[in-house]
């Protein structure tokens, strides 16, 4: 029987009522007395020296409050990078200053050159047009390999080159890996591009800065996945505002996908300018601005080699990746192609020798940072594409080749530093076989052929590392922050509960799923429990939501805090029941004395905590509120197997997805409906990357796909009816809920199966195509078919 509440129930998302009836409270919905508007004048060239900025005419325009240029931000810090990478030679990465407003030089199209604060947005835009820029254009650095050539134009004059770092991982594996490849019976090599993407959350970014002279208090409302991180980065590193004088609020946020993790110039600007003009300052991004100022994702160029012995066992894997950083280091940019990518290169397989080299490169493009999956899709795509290519070269079944090389014993220490605590890759593959009806494929292929179409089947596995992360470990790896999380469980006098959590919900459904956990623990209805998040003045602390970490890390903190509450409540109940607290049991919202019929209700105990007339005041304090911080012992390792069936139109190259199946192991599942929804959305973005989305620059550094006229987002009719399953469950061994994380799986697991399927279809049509770079648009597929 499916449960109707608590852990495992598909409780409907309570937050959807306000979203679907238009009463959500997004940052742009917030307007305050005396508010001004800022319009950012953005660079329309990729690389230039700024010789002069003449703002005199603009300042005289109607409604202008103040115009800011880079010089105004000289006294404050640049936007910091949260992760320092140490290169193969023990040197720290090159880390250029990332200014709030360009000063002296423009380094990408869309960079802020000046900011006009005015009474109205129209007045600000009008005045911006009157600003006179004196620029000397410079050659743009766009192609990563060209950027590393001797004599290449430098994005940052003060750096030695455009190389941010040259990272080797694990450096001690290099010689053994090289030797294993040299001596292998078969080596499959694949060169590929992991295409650059724009996240495109439905809600664009917004910032509203306020300053109160009365108490020297700054407030920033912003579209963030992690308001405490913004408070830390902006307060401590950019503007020098102590935490107790800075409140950051991220109210309803309409999608993040990673791109709202980072601290952005516009946030710092609105906070800074609000004090400078002594008025609130608001900015709402246009969609056009979002394309050229939201951090982009992916953009790796890779060569991967997979070596096999004569029995088709994987013996070594070697990769060489160029990772585009863009013009500046965004908040977590440096960690994505390294620790979130290199550590996953073992995939689901027991390959004994692995060596990963990553060269991170500065170019005159928008900064690149984490996007749903962040590093793990790049790893998965390489591994699962090269395995498919190897199977084809060797003439063996690609599924059998995977199975033969699966990790089967846990815990498993990979050659790339991480230890998988648990998993069962055979189980998800077996589930996938059943769901995807591989047995019926031949008949479906024949039917497609009859209709003039080529049908292909593609399969892949994936593993990811979620629940980022043990703080002491990431500290050793260069993280400049801890990655624990926190929760406060506040029980009110009448028994209802507010839970203040550091995780931020912007589509994940925390307001529904987190109360299910508390409801299960205490035995009171879910509607007696509310989640409070997104405001640094209300919640204890929080590192936010990304990396599929909310439940595994913040949920664990919430469980720990709830356990403390229950322990205290048992002491109160024991007093009321005149029993020993060791004998008190809590079930279905009733405290009872074991082995007796004596009991007291949850609400009576909570009332006693706040009206302590009959209360053990000598032993415990009144009130019922507890906080816990939780630092995970390890990453969690969700894994699964995906299958995609496509049809290719031989005349046009158009690909249509006919079937898609996903078998995931997320450990224990709190709300199966929400988990399915997360997988659905992830697959949509994975299919988007595989078939449609392409953030393209021309050689001058102009963004070619700068609007929806040229950037293709997946739409409902691009997607099939998915089959998703998460019944294979190997619970995480080291967090209290046994949960792993599900937010990114779909985006990580789907691109390889789509591409594998298209290659399979082309091969069935007699086209010997080994690889096509994503997105597999009709023109690219047709082009590959022409040889």
């Amino acid at each position: 029987m499916p449960k109707d509440s608590g852990i495992g129930a598909s409780t409907k998302r309570r937050e959807d009522i306000r979203f679907l009836t238009g009463v959500g409270n997004y940052t742009d919905d917030i307007n305050v007395f005396g508010q001004t508007h800022v319009h950012f004048l953005r660079a329309d060239v990729a690389h230039a020296t700024i010789n002069s900025i003449d703002i005199a005419a603009a300042e005289a325009m109607p409604g202008v409050v103040k115009i800011f240029t880079g010089a105004d931000f000289e006294p404050v810090g640049g936007i910091p990078c949260g992760w320092q990478i140490t290169d193969r030679h023990g040197e720290p990465m090159q880390e250029p200053k990332h200014p709030i407003i360009a000063h002296g030089k423009i380094r990408h199209v869309g960079e802020i050159v000046a900011a006009v604060v005015a009474e109205s947005l129209t007045q600000a835009r009008d005045a911006a047009e009157a600003i006179e820029l004196g620029l000397t254009e410079l050659p743009a650095v766009v192609n990563m390999k060209d950027a590393l050539k001797g004599g290449a134009t430098k994005v940052h004059d003060e750096l030695t080159s455009n190389l941010c770092y040259d990272w080797g991982f694990v450096e001690e594996n290099k010689d053994a890996t090289d030797a294993a490849i040299k001596g292998a019976a078969h080596v499959t090599t694949l060169e590929l591009v992991n295409n650059r993407l724009v996240a495109n959350p439905m809600e664009p970014r917004v910032a509203l800065g306020e300053y109160s002279r009365a108490d020297d208090m700054h407030t920033l409302h912003t579209t963030s996945q992690n308001p405490h991180v913004i408070r830390l980065l902006m307060g401590a590193f950019v503007l020098g505002i102590p935490e107790h004088k800075l409140r950051v609020v991220a109210p309803d946020v309409g999608g993040g996908f990673g791109t709202k993790i980072f601290h952005y110039a516009e946030e710092a600007f609105c906070t800074f300018a609000a004090k400078a003009v002594n008025r609130p300052v608001k900015w709402t991004s246009t969609r056009s601005e979002a394309f050229m100022s939201d951090a982009h994702g992916r953009d790796h160029v890779t060569k991967i080699e997979l070596a096999l012995d004569a029995d088709n066992n994987f013996v070594a894997l070697r990769t060489d990746t160029h990772a585009n950083m863009g013009a500046y280091l965004s908040t977590f940019a440096s960690s994505v192609p390294t620790w979130l990518h290199g550590t996953l290169m073992a995939g689901n397989y027991k390959t004994p020798n692995i060596y990963v080299n990553v060269k991170a490169v500065f170019t005159n493009t928008v900064p690149v940072d984490a996007y749903r999956g962040a590093g793990r899709p790049e790893a998965t795509f390489q591994i699962e594409r090269v395995i498919d290519k190897a199977a084809r070269e060797l003439g063996v079944d690609p599924i059998a080749l995977r199975r033969q090389n699966f990790v089967t014993e846990f815990p498993y220490a990979t050659p790339v530093a991480v230890e998988y605590d648990t998993g069962d890759y055979e189980a998800t593959m077996a589930k996938l076989e059943e769901m995807a009806d591989f047995g019926g494929f031949a008949a479906r292929r024949a039917a497609s052929e009859k209709a003039g179409k080529w049908r292909g089947l593609g399969v892949n596995c994936y593993i990811e590392a979620c629940g980022i992360a043990p703080s002491n470990l990431v500290g050793q790896l260069g993280a400049r922050a801890g990655l624990y999380d926190a929760a406060t469980v506040r029980v009110n006098a009448t028994g209802s509960i507010s839970v203040m959590v550091g995780a931020h919900s912007h589509g994940q459904g925390h307001e529904t799923s987190f109360p299910q956990v508390i409801s299960e623990m205490i035995g009171i209805p879910e509607d007696q429990i509310d989640i409070v998040h997104g405001d640094t003045s209300k919640i204890p602390f929080g590192m936010g939501t990304y990396g599929s970490r909310s439940l595994a890390v913040c949920g664990s903190a919430m469980v720990r805090a709830a356990e403390k509450v229950i322990n205290k409540a048992k002491k109160i109940a024991a007093h009321l029941l005149e029993a020993s607290d060791a004998d008190i049991e809590l079930k279905d919202g009733q405290f009872s004395v074991a082995g007796t019929d004596k009991s007291v209700a949850w609400g009576d105990v909570t009332l006693a905590a706040y009206v302590p007339h009959n209360y053990p005041l000598e032993d415990i304090e009144p009130g019922l509120e507890e906080t816990a911080f939780y630092d995970p012992a390890n990453f969690t390792y969700p894994a699964g197997a995906y299958a995609c069936e496509v049809e290719v139109d031989p005349e046009t190259g158009k690909v249509t997805i006919e079937r898609f199946a996903a078998a995931d192991d997320f450990g224990n599942v709190i709300n199966p409906m929400i988990v399915s929804g997360q997988v659905h959305g992830g697959i949509a973005q994975g299919v988007g990357q595989a078939l449609l989305e392409n953030c393209a620059y021309d050689e001058d550094g102009q963004l070619v796909s700068a609007s929806y006229m040229d950037y293709a987002m997946p739409r409902a009719d691009d997607l099939p009816f998915y089959q998703v399953d998460h019944s294979c469950q190997t619970p995480c061994t080291h967090n209290p809920l046994g949960v792993k994380g599900c937010g990114e799986a779909g985006a990580i697991g789907s691109p390889p199966s789509v591409v594998n399927a298209v290659i399979d279809a082309l091969q069935s049509g007699g086209k010997d195509v080994a690889h096509i770079d994503m997105p597999l648009t009709p023109s690219r597929v047709w082009g590959a078919m022409q040889g």
Binding site: M709, T777, P778, S779
Partner: protein, 262 residues
Amino acid sequence: MYAFEIEKPSTIADAVLALSGEDTQALGGGQTLIPTLKQRLAAPEVLVSLSGVSEMVGICRNDAGEMCIGGATTHAAVAAGAGAFPALAALASHIGDPAVRNRGTIGGSLANNDPSACYPAAALGAGATIKTNTRDIAADDYFEGMFSTALDEGEIVTEVRFPVPEVANYQKFVQPASRFALVGVFVAKFADGVRIAVTGASEEGVFRWTEAEAALSADFSAEALSDLTVPADGMIADLHGSPAYRAHLVKVMTGRAVGAAT
């Protein structure tokens, strides 16, 4: 968007008068113009909205059997009301999305002459007559290249008259992002021959594929195209397709339109 005045005449005569002023711009359904204004890429002083000109709205058949569609008639209205010319109704039903179809107008589309728009292919393919406030212009004389037409300053497309073919079909291969035509081919078979118009493909905008017209006039079957090739010279090159790909698609879509013509 810059500030502008808006006038909303109710007759063609008043609209022509309003457009004769300084720095005016006719506004049809606004599906291209309004986004352009929002981007501040145009700055007319006065917009003259044609949506209130009732004599420019509607669909009827004239004595010559032509389907006459008022210039301010929306795509949705054509989709619903041009059943006697099924290929035209189907074309209109696949322009943009429902919001676009309920605002955008045939006159606005033809006056704009976007090189990837659908209506130019129908007008040229069917050999329509573009009727304005001053004259009748044959489709063959009307389209003058990308975003360029025979219209004079202030001239309004008041009506489009389509000869109704025996059979016709429009095949659109969509550009994946915008869903405009990457290549769209309109094939119309009349008693005296076949006309074929291609949109989306050429740097010169909509054009007739006369070689295929001759072949199909002799033998109206996809096989009749087998020996023909479309030169890639002058085809559009962009993120979504090379000139060679577009040239290839012209032939494929023409063949499919012949096969599907009703």
